[in-house]
């Protein structure tokens, strides 16, 4: 269905090609998962398929790309609209109309389909994706998962043979992500669609894939069955890592596979020492008492009381729109409490002058680029030194520790997602705020960048910062959080040590916990350490 023959792609002004001599064939009806680090050329590969590369992006393409027999060299993206449906990373950025029904019809209008066909297909798509209830709703009022499903539906109505998705679940909470993936699986099974899907969160999608395409970043592409590719791939979901640790062969790809093999491992682990998860938390850095925040008539937070201490990493979890961001905003004083109190080291953050705020609390926003405004990394660091009134070079040194080897003259927009996040983090840390907040830090981060982030967070805690991170990433929480705070509908519904909150929860349990439950193991590393320890006597 998708055929790439000898494809070499070089962007204008680039010294080396993004993709070099790539031969790739994806047969009809397969769900192919594209994995690789950020900036490795995943998005370029996806956009080759519907002709946006090179028609829209520019650059030089050698070799041949054919989709359903059509050569993209002579077909523009709009000429391929009835064969390939492309769903971008941020569904809201690709919406053209106002409401669900019009959005679904938009592609068909462009193709000039007759009215009765359009009506029939809109109804079918609404039913297929479970959107019937939302048909007249404005797109901006929908939740993230609903928006993503509308974006998928909007390209499905033209009855494409191929569906291409760029990180469809990275912004979604675990349950909304499952909703979207269930829809994709149904499309592959029932309609025989060929799906090409890029995703960093392998733990969410690896189990659905028929084929994994690894883009290592050196221009080559490796394609094979999931078990083959993931066995050697440097990036793998936790369940595969657990399989490697336990020495299972073939490697399990799903939690279900792993659970069937798990009894022996659980047996071995009963004698092993549980990892030491005690934390050495120091003084309280922030606390909220009966914190209530309302927007108009909406209660964003209702009576939240909690405290954050030095030396702990608290994960803030909950559905999209549950009130996570509002709590963060209240803690940095962007939002005054409607009633109740917020205190960061004894003062209400909303009363602090901007210059003093950064010595109390720092927030890395969901879009780290919001914090950056100069045209080079060097200027950015110098500005941050001045803002924080610290000796020149402090921020640069911090940034070098977090992501070494970035030249001073690089533009912040040209950094990878991970580097941009660490630059924003360095800027925030320059003033050494006792409390550091992060909003969705792993959005768009690959596994390597995530490992780096975990190390950085552990260092911060060791240095006595308190860290609060709002996230959907259960694997990150399992790695690094000492405490989990779950909020739903503006209320705290769970607050306790990570193991207690996460292991029993169907939505928030990491893969290893799902495999080894009820035993409280969270990450492959913990298991590996425990096994190594218990096997020493043998």
């Amino acid at each position: 269905m998708i055929e790439l023959d000898g494809v070499t792609l070089t962007y204008d002004g680039a010294s080396a090609p993004v993709l070099r001599d790539v031969d790739l064939h994806v047969p009809e009806g397969e769900l192919a998962l594209v994995v690789g680090r950020t900036g490795s050329g995943k998005t370029s590969l996806l956009r080759l398929v519907n002709g946006l590369v090179p028609h829209f992006s520019g650059g030089r393409l050698r070799g041949r790309v054919r989709v359903d027999g059509r050569d993209t060299a002579v077909h523009r993206p709009r000429d391929l609209a009835d064969v390939v449906g492309l769903v971008g990373q941020d569904p809201l950025a690709g919406f053209v109309t106002d409401n669900v029904e019009d959005e679904l019809a938009y592609g068909m209008e462009s193709l000039g389909l007759p009215g009765d066909v359009m009506r029939k297909r809109v109804e079918e798509t609404l039913d297929l994706l479970g959107l019937a209830e939302l048909r007249g709703r404005p797109l901006t009022d929908l939740s993230g998962g609903q928006q993503q499903r509308v974006a998928i539906g909007a390209v499905l109505t033209t009855h494409p043979r191929v569906l291409v998705l760029d990180e469809p679940t990275s912004a979604l909470d675990p349950l909304a992500a499952e909703e979207v993936l269930a829809v994709l699986q149904r499309l592959v099974h029932d309609l025989g669609l060929t799906v090409l899907l890029a995703e960093h969160r392998l733990e969410r999608v690896a189990q659905y894939a028929d084929r994994v395409i690894l883009v290592p970043g050196d221009g080559s592409v490796v394609s094979g069955t999931p078990a083959e590719v993931l066995a050697t791939s440097p990036i793998a979901p936790p369940v595969v890592e657990l399989g490697r640790v336990a020495g299972w062969h073939p490697l399990p790809l799903t939690v279900r596979d792993a659970r069937r093999r798990a009894p022996a491992l659980r047996e071995r682990l009963t004698t092993a020492d549980l990892p030491d998860r005690r934390t050495t938390s120091g003084g309280v850095v922030a606390q909220t008492t009966d914190l209530t925040v309302t927007y108009g008539r909406v209660n964003a937070l209702r009576g939240v009381s909690t405290r954050l201490a030095r030396g702990e990493v608290v994960a803030l979890m909950g559905r999209n729109g549950a009130g996570k961001s509002t709590l963060l905003r209240a803690l940095v004083g962007m939002r005054r409490p409607t009633s109740g109190r917020v205190e960061v080291i004894g003062t209400a953050p909303a009363d602090l002058r901007a210059g003093d705020l950064l010595r109390h609390v720092g927030l890395v926003p969901q879009v780290p680029g919001d914090l950056l405004y100069t045209s080079s990394v060097g200027d950015e660091c110098a500005e941050a030194d001045r803002d924080a009134q610290v000796p020149a070079g402090t921020t640069r040194a911090l940034f070098d520790r977090l992501s070494p080897g970035v030249p001073d003259e690089r533009h912040p927009r040209d950094l990878s997602e991970g580097q941009r996040l660490t630059l924003a983090l360095a800027v925030v840390l320059a003033a050494r705020p006792p409390l550091v907040l992060l909003d969705e830090p792993t959005r768009g981060l690959d596994y390597t960048a995530k490992h780096r982030l975990v190390e950085i967070l552990r260092d911060l805690v060791a240095e006595g910062h308190g860290v609060l991170l709002a996230t959907h990433d259960v694997e990150l929480v399992a790695e690094v959080a000492t405490r989990v705070l779950v909020i739903a509908d503006g209320e705290v519904v769970a607050d306790g040590p990570t193991v207690d909150v996460v292991v029993s929860s169907p939505a928030f349990a990491p893969q290893v916990a799902k495999v080894l439950a009820p035993a409280p193991w969270l990450t492959p590393t913990e298991v590996a350490v425990a096994l190594a320890g218990s096997e020493v006597p043998r």
Binding site: P77, D98, A354
Partner: protein
């Protein structure tokens, strides 16, 4: 009669009808600086929006326009006070310390502020404010994006540009707010020229990036795919563009009384004619774009459009017959009531009942669940 002809059958009115209505009302406001018809027109826009707007986010935009309009009046008055070019009228309210500027500039900073000058400025500001509110009402009632569905496919580039503009004007505002808040986190107050520079960079860059993203999305969803052969496309495009230009000049002529009478209605008609010819020619040239559930143009559409025309006609008639009623001789005198203009503007309030109510966006099932009977279930 089919249901779309009944004003009580819930559906979305054709956005074109709302825009024509608003243009009519704005044309009436453009003819006069008499506060009586102006305030009446303002009340009419508010009333109709209140009666017939939907629950969609863009329907809330009227308040934003109203706020902008009030700001506009305030700015106009402030400038009058600070830069009173000439002390018009004898009633001096107060005197500001004045600063002499070179006589050639014709400006004077500070000085005597007269009641006449203040009132005149208020009325002028009010006129602009009412026109702005008419646009706001049209935007709230017939979303500009829905109107965009009727842009002929031949105008491919213009369509893309309009969609992007409509998406990013509001997006730019929310982005700016977000980035400003982020700056506080870095210890700035975000004021002054430096603050503006720091704000502009991420906001504009982000907006540009997303514009490209949206254009790519439109392209990959087939927009502009079947625009016919290049020759017809060019001819259609030219005709429609010329027509739209004519329409714009015509609207401008209607709104601005000082221009020649030839710029008003005749130009509007000519423009409309050329544009329609272009669209028809484009259709024949098989532009191939179809429309999902096109809004019907039925009796309520005619009624709404005509009520707007009535407002414009009333003001135009009054301007012709009793010009003294619309342009005040002395701002301090109690403003007279121009009967014809007021009657026309009052007719423009009829859409509050003649236009069909917007349908509820919730599905029948959801409504049943929300009804008191459904609560027990």
């Amino acid at each position: 009669m089919r249901p779309q002809h009944f004003p009580h059958h819930p559906r979305h009115l054709h956005p074109g009808a709302w825009w024509l209505w608003a243009v009519g009302l704005a044309a009436a406001a453009g003819r006069t600086q008499n506060p009586v018809p102006l305030l009446l027109a303002l009340a009419v826009t508010g009333f109709v929006v209140g009666a017939r707007r939907s629950t969609a986010p863009w329907a809330r935009s009227y308040t934003a326009f109203l706020r902008l309009a009030l700001l506009l009046i305030a700015v106009r008055v402030l400038f009058q006070v600070l830069l009173s070019a000439s002390a018009e009228g004898p009633t001096v309210l107060f005197t500001l310390p004045s600063l002499a500027l070179p006589a050639t500039s014709g400006l004077k900073l500070g000085g005597a502020v007269t009641l006449e000058a203040l009132l005149q400025a208020t009325y002028e500001g009010l006129q602009l404010a009412v026109i702005l509110c008419c646009v706001g009402a049209a935007n709230a009632l017939g979303s500009a994006r829905r109107l965009l569905r009727y842009v002929p496919a031949a105008l491919y580039e213009i369509g893309v540009a309009c969609v992007i503009a409509l998406t990013f004007a509001p997006q730019l505002v929310t982005d700016a707010a977000r980035v400003r808040q982020a700056h506080r986190l870095r210890g700035h107050r975000g004021r002054g020229l430096r603050g503006l520079r720091r704000l502009a960079m991420p906001v504009v860059e982000g907006a540009l990036e997303r514009s490209v993203e949206l254009a790519a999305a439109m392209d990959s969803r087939g927009y502009g795919r079947t625009t016919g052969d290049p020759l017809t496309r060019r001819r259609t495009g030219l005709l429609v563009l010329a027509g739209l230009l004519g329409l714009c000049v015509g609207v401008y002529g209607l709104l601005d009384v000082t221009t020649s009478a030839w710029l008003g209605a005749p130009m509007l008609l000519l423009g409309a004619l050329v544009a329609v010819t272009g669209v028809v020619a484009g259709r024949r040239g098989h532009t191939g774009r179809s429309r999902y559930r096109p809004d019907p143009w039925a009796l309520p559409e005619w009624a709404v459009t005509l009520s707007g025309v009535a407002a414009a006609a009333g003001a135009a008639l009054d301007a012709h017959l009793h010009p003294a009623l619309l342009v005040l001789a002395s701002p301090t005198a109690v403003p007279p009531v121009p009967l014809l203009a007021c009657a026309g503007i009052l007719l423009a309030a009829l859409p509050a009942v003649l236009a069909p109510p917007p349908p509820d966006s919730a599905t029948p099932a959801a409504r049943d669940a929300a009804s008191p009977l459904g609560v027990a279930a």
